[in-house]
């Protein structure tokens, strides 16, 4: 319906009206946040950045002790080296993102020229390619290390995902990410919202599912199960596989639009990546 209705709605209201006035992302975000505040009244809002540990006190203590000697420290160091390493042309990632790469708060970002969502990981690879270097492989390894370094230097920045109101394609990308989040998929017929919203805080075999409010903040993570770092989209792939859905391509429109939506829902929380997870 949105595809048919949107042009009509925009036509009626005039182009100058911002998307937010048509039951748009801001209404979505407020209702989303309220849902979790009501469901977990004991969790201080700022604490939703900590995923499952924001609602599971039994696991929190152990997690806090892990965070004292963080398993992602090596990744930050590796990322720092990679970040400042010179490309063949003498430049480095620092020429794209500044001395310390503290730009986490700008991503995911709407790219008006190309009409697409650009995540920080994509931006890292595009910087490399623009300088004649091979892109890193997505999900883990070097991309996660560089992302860890940049996220570390960006800690405390506030999630502020922007959907420019003067580009209807940005709204479409957001809407498609939103639809994805609420749609049942895979042979097991689950939506992200089934597990991370309506069953958040409930057990699935050995795991309790975390609230989706805050899902965008703590990446990349060192996950004990992986025994290494991974990006947000790696996790999305894992959740899809767990419901027997064929995962999408890393950094393709499906995952990037979904990341756009998840990030918008987390607006107002602080970035606190990298982080440790079970």
């Amino acid at each position: 319906m949105t595809k048919i209705m949107r042009p009509i709605a925009i036509g009626l209201l005039g182009l100058s009206v911002s998307a937010a006035s048509v039951a748009g992302p801001e209404e979505d975000r407020k209702a989303f946040r309220k849902f979790y505040e009501n469901r977990f009244p004991d969790t201080p809002v700022a604490d939703f950045q900590n995923g499952i540990y924001s609602i599971l006190p039994e696991a929190r203590e152990q997690w806090e002790s892990i965070e004292e000697f963080p398993p992602y420290e090596l990744a930050i160091e590796e990322g720092e080296t990679l970040y400042h390493a010179k490309f063949a042309n003498g430049k480095s990632l620092a020429d794209c993102f500044g001395d310390d790469g503290a730009v986490r708060g700008e991503y995911p970002k709407w790219d008006k020229e190309r009409g697409m969502v650009v995540t920080m990981e994509r931006a890292i690879n595009e910087c490399r390619e623009a300088n004649g270097e091979e892109p890193y492989r997505y999900y883990k390894g070097k991309i996660a290390a560089v992302s860890a370094y940049m996220s570390w230097n960006s800690r405390g920045q506030v999630v502020n995902t922007v959907i420019p109101s003067d580009d209807p394609r940005a709204m479409e990308a957001y809407e498609s990410g939103k639809e994805h989040f609420y749609t049942k998929r895979g042979q097991l017929n689950f939506a992200c919202a089934d597990c991370h919203m309506y069953s958040s805080g409930m057990w699935f075999r050995a795991d309790m599912t975390s609230p989706a409010f805050g899902h965008a903040t703590s990446w990349p993570v060192f996950r004990s199960k992986w025994q290494e770092m991974g990006t947000l989209q790696r996790r999305l792939k894992g959740c899809h596989e767990s419901i027997r859905a064929e995962p999408f391509k890393a950094q393709g429109p499906e995952y990037s639009n979904l990341e756009y939506f998840i990030s918008y829902m987390s607006n107002g929380l602080e970035f606190n990546g990298p982080s440790a997870r079970k």
């Binding site: 209702a31 609420y182 042979q187 939506a191 919202a193 596989e241 027997r244 859905a245 064929e246």
Partner: protein
């Protein structure tokens, strides 16, 4: 008229077993095709289907026709279910958005 219908029914009964014993390679190709079509039309793909198709191709390569047919048929059934899911979800997701 009545006679004609009966004749047709009989004829189809005789023909049916022949049609069932399709070439396994054709059936696998049909399943592959159905899988790609539902993916491009709806964006939905099940991992289970991917795996069944892989098993079907493998069985075909190993000369195990019965297994190839079984897996390809399974994949086709899964594709039907995937289509149904996509059809239902076209609207159903909206009811899950908190207001």
């Amino acid at each position: 008229m009545m006679f004609k219908v009966k004749q047709w029914a009989l004829l189809s009964l005789l023909v049916a077993p022949v049609a069932m014993a399709a070439d396994p390679a054709d059936l696998v190709a049909e399943a592959e095709n159905a899988y790609q079509t539902v993916a491009s039309e709806t964006g939905y793909q099940w991992l289970t289907t991917t795996r069944a198709l892989k098993a079907a191709r493998q069985a075909l390569a190993d000369g195990q026709s019965d297994e190839a047919i079984k897996q390809a048929q399974f994949a086709l059934d899964l594709v039907e279910a995937t289509k149904l899911q996509a059809e239902i979800e076209k609207k159903a997701w909206q009811a899950r958005v908190p207001k």
